[in-house]
Amino acid sequence: MVEETKEKDPEFKWGKKKGFGGKKREVIFYESFIYDGVAYTLYDSVYLYKEDEPEPFIGKIIKIWESGDKKKRVKVLWFFRPCEILNFLEGYEARENELFLAAGEGLGLANVNPLEAIAGKCDVACILKDDRNPHPLDAGLQNADFVCYRFFDVGKHAILDKIEDKIAGIEVKNIFNNLYSRKLGGLSKLGLDEKEVSVKVTTSNEAATLSSDKNNQLLVEKLDGKCFDNVDSRDKTLPQAKEKENGVYMTSLAKQKSLAKLSHCSRDSLEMKEISKIGGNVSIDKTLLKSKNNLEMGGHNIVGIPDRQINKRLGEGEVYEKEKYGISSAKITSNVKNRRNYDEYDDVKEVPSKKPKIDTMSVKHSEKKLPDRQINKRLGENKAFEKEKYGASSARKTNNVQNRRTYYDNDDDDDDDEKEVPSKKPKIDTMHAKLARDKLQKESSTTSLNVEHKLDYRVMEVTQRPDVDRSKWFKPMAWEEKMKNACEQGKLVRLENLDPSLTSSEVQNIIWHGFEESCTAKMIQKTAYSSPHSGQAFVIFKRKEAAESVVRKLEEGCFLMSNGRPLVGSFELPCLSGKKPIFYGHHAIDQPRQRETKDALSTSHCSQPNNIEYDMALEWCLLQEREDKSWRRLYQRQGEELSKLKAKLKSKI
């Protein structure tokens, strides 16, 4: 299935194909891609740059596709920096490098972005202790860029410590530390996890045995009944039907999540061995939660997995189980297994971690044989009941139907996504503005404390600054607009006394060497009037504080450049086109014959020496010459003054 499409962009390559979507199957989903020399996989955390945002956004790729018109898109689930949600953080201590994962429903959860917006990989370690998190990484041991263990509900604007099973339709286990990408580091940790898992299993087992037999049976029946109901309604309306059933299910179980878990636990005890043998998932809880998800949503992600393959697996599973329990239990198992197979396809990534766990599980099982046997009896009754109703083959049918249903779901999902394209985090942005101000105040107070800045007094040769700007993938905004924004945010600095022949990029390099700040600079273009001695530039810094510190440093210290030019910086504002400029010297006669005159006026022509226009034009020429002369004299005088002073400089660099 791996196919590398040739792209115009040499720095881009698609990775593994995942499937197709859309009405005409024109949308191609992928699992990975290589961009700008970096390989990205689904569920990787990435930086996304937005022009004029001082800090990049951080998000998790939850979907990758190429749309029908060959546009590369990624759906990104956002992380929030603490400063972005400052208003909702009261009572919470946030680490400096902590991120909050968006959850809930609402604006700012996730959106679709052009793939080109990705600026780089970001290392976010999820240190949440949760059974669904395969390896809660130890925060102390990791030198990840960021850590994440809490969530921000974008709908309710609240910080959450726990999380539902899905965020934006993605199962959280994918969102947690990505097994695939952490395969190497993760494996060594497996041992620990397994222990945890086994403890959990024991407890759940106990809980299950405690609950009454009746209850057990009831729950099992209900679950199975539901599965088979699906067989009957195997058309496109399935998702709704499912939901309805789910509703019934939910009411019957009162408290959705916990009880679902409990019911699964009870089931669990019945099917302990099967599951353990299947044992694909990290913890049993997770399997069950996932199976619950499947019931609710009909699975996700998988597209186009051959049914036969699943069936084959199913067959294997049955055979396997037969050995231990006899055919009777196969049916229930197959349901579970069915789901489990799903899960497996859901995240192929988990596969590597599977094997070691299976072993430990089965070991544990042998210890538990006795209680299980008892349960098996009960199970036997159960299965007999089902056999009467549906026969063995129905399990497989369910499987197929579910599979197909997944397919539809997926398609629908994707269509939605494409419509979602409009802008990023709109609501949150407004919060941003407010918060950013707070933040700035806070930061500026801290910076003013360390006024004692160290300056390097050595002579530096200006070279190309390191490529700190990674935002090159954005189409540059019009300079005017940028400058206006920067001006409002106090990030704009005017530099004077530059060598007029410098280019904008050279100015950027100079700033980088002198202040270690990256910036966007623009030399003011010379005109006939501008000074030949002092070039000017407008520079936009990333942050207000950076701009302030640069101006302060320039004020206090002296930054000497080649040819004895000390740099001068100020916050002088540019003149931006707002009001209509006044232009002297064009006259129109506003009298009845205006129309004709106007037409005559607007044509460009050389004036001939036989009319009044020519006389007037000559007056203007005279004035222009006078102006020229005054400029020349002014600059000449200024030049003399400068060279006199420069002669006093001892060091010549």
Partner: protein, 198 residues
């Protein structure tokens, strides 16, 4: 991103092909310039130089790339010789050869080494540099003032010309009116003078 020598040479060629126009009215657009100059030369591109510095109401400036350096000379000679009106009169447009620094997208001059350093306060140059900084500020203030003064002069000339124009216009209107209502003819007969009839 060191630009290569060839690249820079190509750029210098472009500079030679380009004419700098100023004293342009704010109403002048790219198409106005194109139509105005196409009687002399083929206009390849027009770029306005934005005016970001505080001095307001400066006339527009533009860089106009023509087909060849020869054409640039012709255009400049033409505009020098005859006052050239563009989108209004009587203030003429002025043309000059363009300079490298006028271009926004100029490549970095090859083989140029820039050096820079911070000066220590104990350095004897520190004070000199400080003075230089002050001088720079003073100069830029002078430039601003100069712009203001010159703009005043322009305004003066403009109002004076407007006045003249108005008077002239009034005069011609009067002549026209007495010619049309035949008052001129009546008077001519009275004083026994000949009047050209239209």
């Amino acid at each position: 991103m060191e630009s290569s020598a060839e690249e820079y040479a190509a750029f210098e060629e472009k500079v030679k092909r380009t004419v700098y126009l100023d004293n342009l009215s704010p109403q002048v657009t790219e198409s106005v310039i194109k139509t105005a100059l196409d009687q002399f030369a083929l206009v390849k591109s027009v770029k306005f130089i934005p005016n970001y510095l505080g001095t307001s109401s400066l006339p527009q400036c533009a860089l106009v790339e023509l087909e060849s350096a020869k054409k640039v000379k012709e255009v400049i000679a033409m505009i020098r010789q005859y006052p050239f009106m563009m989108s209004g009169m009587p203030r003429p447009v002025r043309a000059r050869p363009s300079l490298v620094e006028m271009f926004d997208d100029r490549p970095i001059k090859p083989k140029r080494k820039m050096k820079c350093c911070w000066l220590e306060q104990s350095d004897p140059d520190f004070e000199v540099a400080k003075e230089l900084k002050n001088l720079t500020r003073k100069h830029s203030a002078e430039i601003t003032l100069m712009h203001k003064v010159l703009s005043k002069e322009e305004e003066k000339l403009a109002t004076q010309q407007a006045e003249t124009l108005k008077v002239h216009y009034k005069k011609y209107r009067m002549i026209e009116s007495i010619m049309t209502d035949r008052a001129a003819h009546t008077l001519a007969r009275k004083y026994n003078m000949a009047v050209a009839d239209e």
